[in-house]
Symmetry: D2
Subunit: 368 residues, 4 copies
């Protein structure tokens, strides 16, 4: 077991190294009959891609998806979907110098300790390059959720370093798609541009928080008590490179809340609030599902740091490859993808056990 | 699938309702030869139990564990361990009134929507009573980890409502075991007593944060890229009743950190810090593994709240059963148990794939 | 991992040793709303039980099932069903003598080699006592299959030693239930009685073949290419104690068949034959599903055999406990149970992926 | 879930349709450090390939394996191995005529019933083309088993139609590799050549039996009670296209055996026989593991058969594509591969739970 698979009934298996010949995934369990073409992947892959703005890594990959199986005459057949993307812009020479070094705060050291061998080119398997296939798989999940259930999964960058998005009036998703940060407040974008320019110049990196909501999720998805919807969302988001924290609904803010303030009261007209993030007892309540993830600052810096080499010698590590000064910036499509994959998996699991029995009266509208 | 199982190679399956005849679990995959007796469970079950102080629910359960299988002459045999605890202090009449009501912020409504039927007595399956068996299973994992690998898993209450534990000088685990709150600072306990007395009198509830550390974890545990140690910890902790957030290492604090500050530099004498919480790329680094979980305030309140009944009518819900004003108080052993179960599972998975190959030089000491 | 679980969406986990305090199982994933009571288990458990005729082991167990969880007011709730049976007629003294001996052809030696420890009392975990819980779990599956899909699973003893059931005119299921052998031909029963009396007197044992059919299985159940209906049936039947061979449809007879003879032709009036046993490409065809299993002769004999003890010394092994001279005789309900569990699991898996899409025209009637 | 994955700790996921752009697999869980190159796959893929003799299908595929991931500098790294083979000799026009027809005894009808859609070109996913990737994955398992444990897995054709291999003197594996039938008796090969020529001329097909042995398997592999070594072998072999029966050791011959004849007695010098096929209680005994599988005759015949079309009309089906008159002839490498994959998976599972504890005295030599 090495667990490069994710999901129970909709099972994603990814493979590939950053500088290997290709990356890819197998998506098993997708229902038959879904319209699907290679073009469907372009939009989200472009959203995740590097090299589109000066604020991300300058590696440029075409990210052209080839569908190797599972589609016949434009529709899924129920057999496994295999998706392949050839790597084209590897520059392994960038990493030759550090092939024997363990960068501080990197997976270099832990892969070495675990396996006794590692592919150091571009971070090998531990590279964020792998998340490309998460996004690709997520495209299928988003499409199915939208067509079959009217569910829509959308994310945004809710914090960049110390700068928090001011979204009291709700999320402006048009704004999110109009700037390279997935930022929901157009007025703050110039500030962010300046922030990132200064950061890049300094050679340092910074953390970020990405948030996601799913609208239209019906009540009843989620499997108590270990396959809870929130538990699986937590695993899904924490499995993304650089994530160190996951919140559902109000997240860590609940610690200082009173029960009377936290509890989302219910009336015949609907829920009166949504502190729970649309999940109660691990099962969706019919409200908006809401989560967020904290991304740590990139550790690949040109500012020297103390590390070790494979011989145990102290070394000064300087990372000169093409890296993101803030990995969170490109993470929004990844967070969306993982959320969509979890939701679709739970939808199938719910259908397996409960069929349509869950759609009992009364059904409460979500909070306005 | 209903997913009452947890873990891949060390698989815990729990069963039982709050007011049913019994709760229990099956623990499959435990290596043979571990010394184990019914008495081993008493300590941690008592730590988790209700009815021991005025600050928790007054339900009193003997929580006597019967080992039904898997042990011969005092040692595990490699066959499944079945553990059983009879329920003895159910008071289902407390719940009769609300059998047709959906309490706000409770799993009542979502179970109903999912299954079209539910056992309302004491919350049925959604009750925190289920966590008793997590603690029982965790006892086995703690014991194996300690004996086989010298790993020690310990938790504490790091925040109660607005009150944060002041632990700059490190955690005083003797203090943790000396007060009903698992609080690591003896000097703050009187303050907490007063806080909880006032809270209980008010009829309201409050949230809390529980933290946990595992010392002695060797480098190499954790399975990239979906079965990462932190991803599985996140799922494990988020699956505990009332948890809404999970953090590894610095958690959400990483959002505003710079890379130069966050990265844990490595020297031949050891790591210089531990912002990462002992996990890099999803694999343990040999440093202390560190996590925390945010618990929401109990929603079962005697203060009236707006809810619905099964007929869709608005009702005023008053919950008069025996409830914890702060579920986080008793959660420390549960958090420890889930952490230990994840670690033991990962230890077995690592052994399966890598045998002893992972123990390569150089091995870096944890941060002092 | 020790794999005491079976099934993907309907997951059975059994526990318990032959002479431990109890045996039991947890059945997870059963849909909510199924009527279920402890009495439902009595009939099939009695069919499997020892001590009812002189032709089986004389151990007498009440086999009273206690439902510990998952049922509320007579219906399943969707939470795990835990079933418990206390052992009452253990006679471990029978086994004291052989606690250090490895009986030839027994799991004694292999459990010892695998685990380095074993519970020798009554065969411990390797005893056929475990199959009691398979039968109990199978009761739930049979009930759900019958009520939800009109599927009926029935078995019989098709061969006892050299004696083959003569069933050219079809299976007489009334006969099957009217004799202690589950034999489908009433006229042959006296012969079998004499056969078994002579065998018992000789101290030897003999093998048997059990067959099973499922009527009413709709087309579409089974998951290519590794979770095929026949592949999972094969695993299910081979996992029963003493089984050494599994056949689907014509089984090993296909080796010498011509394609023109084997292929089940299809007309608008239905299939013209059923050599395939109702499964094509791993998916049910809508015909009768048909399988059989070969049971080896019991190895626990009072006739001395050469074995070894734990010190490596050659010993003469004589087994004096209460054993079946033909384990196949009582195996019919076990084979039915495993078949029903596989079918129900596949039904849920099919519903998960395909919903009702599979019910497309044309649907072909099964062979008359 | 659609279950195109196989194995627990060594997990194979295959994808691809017969006439799609490519077939491939992901092998997850392979230990790091195994030497592996694309050339390693050539030998077994050639053994399985069509178009090498007149006795098999005339489709000619290069079957060149590309390793897409998981190998660095000639050694496995512990990350997933992705293997890809491009299809080059598809002739979908051969199938255009039957795109709307359901061939008798084929998966055509059941895929249609299950999914409501199917890829009819060359049988799509149900084609034996998929087994190419089983063989490729099996190469890795064979290599690891040989290097790590000295285990050797070898198969042969034990029966072709009515012709049984006469192997009383043991299997001549040199002979097996010297004829296109994997036949262990050189003297019988001319008879088989004539048999197949006549069969091909007749337009009919015939069944076959393939046998396999694994030498060097240590005692202790296999997980009771549902993940037994024999249960998983049964599933593995039954999942191969066209298999209708699986036997372990003496298989169905045990039905008529006496216990005194069947039981493999043990002496300090070793086992005296091996009727059990090296497995007791689901765990390997240290003897030779022995299994066989029955393959049905191909259903794709040019001799007309009665079938149906998608509109429910009766049609006369004539299959003119390139098909094997006996699929069992090429099945030997597939049976070997599945056996090796099961054994390696069980080896890893055993290591996970038991470490080296299983290697206790006394260890009994296999039967001479």
């Amino acid at each position: 077991m090495s667990d490069n698979s994710f999901g129970r009934l909709l099972r994603v298996t990814t493979f590939g190294e950053s500088h290997g010949p290709a990356i890819g995934c197998v998506l098993d369990g997708c229902p038959p009959g879904l319209a699907l073409a290679a073009e469907d992947f372009a939009h989200d892959l472009a959203r995740r891609a590097t090299g589109r703005t000066r604020h991300t890594s300058q590696r440029r990959e075409a990210d052209a998806v080839e569908i190797l199986s599972g589609v016949h005459e434009g529709r899924t057949t129920g057999t496994p979907l295999a998706l392949l993307i050839r790597n084209t812009d590897q520059r392994s020479r960038d990493y030759a110098a550090i092939g024997e070094q363990f960068r501080p705060a990197h997976a270099d050291y832990t892969y070495w300790q675990k396996y006794g061998i590692r592919d150091p080119r571009g971070g090998g398997r531990s590279s964020a390059r792998e998340t490309t296939m998460r996004v690709a798989a997520g495209v299928v999940a988003k499409k199915w959720l939208a067509e079959r259930h009217g569910v829509r999964v959308r994310g945004w960058l809710s914090q960049l370093g110390e700068v928090r998005a001011v979204v009291d009036a709700g999320i402006d998703f048009d704004a999110v798609e109009s700037n390279p940060f997935f930022w929901p407040v157009a007025a703050q974008v110039p500030e962010l541009e300046a922030y990132m320019d200064a950061l890049r110049k300094s050679g340092d990196s910074v953390g970020a928080e990405v948030s996601v909501v799913a609208d239209g999720v019906p009540p009843g998805w989620g499997e108590p008590v270990y396959g809870k919807l929130d538990a699986e969302l937590a695993a899904a988001l924490m499995s993304i490179n650089a994530v160190k924290g996951v919140a559902i609904g109000d997240g860590f803010d609940v610690v200082a809340q009173r029960g009377t303030a936290h509890r989302d009261e219910i009336t015949a007209d609907g829920f009166l609030s949504n502190h729970a993030g649309g999940i109660l007892g691990g099962i969706s309540s019919g409200q908006q599902v809401r989560a967020s993830a904290a991304f740590k600052p990139t550790s690949s810096l040109r500012l020297p740091g103390r590390g070790l080499d494979v011989h145990g010698n102290a070394v000064e590590v300087v990372t000169t490859g093409r890296h993101d000064p803030c990995v969170g910036i490109r993470a929004t499509p990844i967070v969306e993808a993982m959320t969509a994959l979890v939701l679709m998996d739970q939808a199938l699991r719910h259908r397996a056990q409960c069929g349509d029995v869950g759609t009992v009266a009364p059904r409460v509208p979500p909070a306005a």
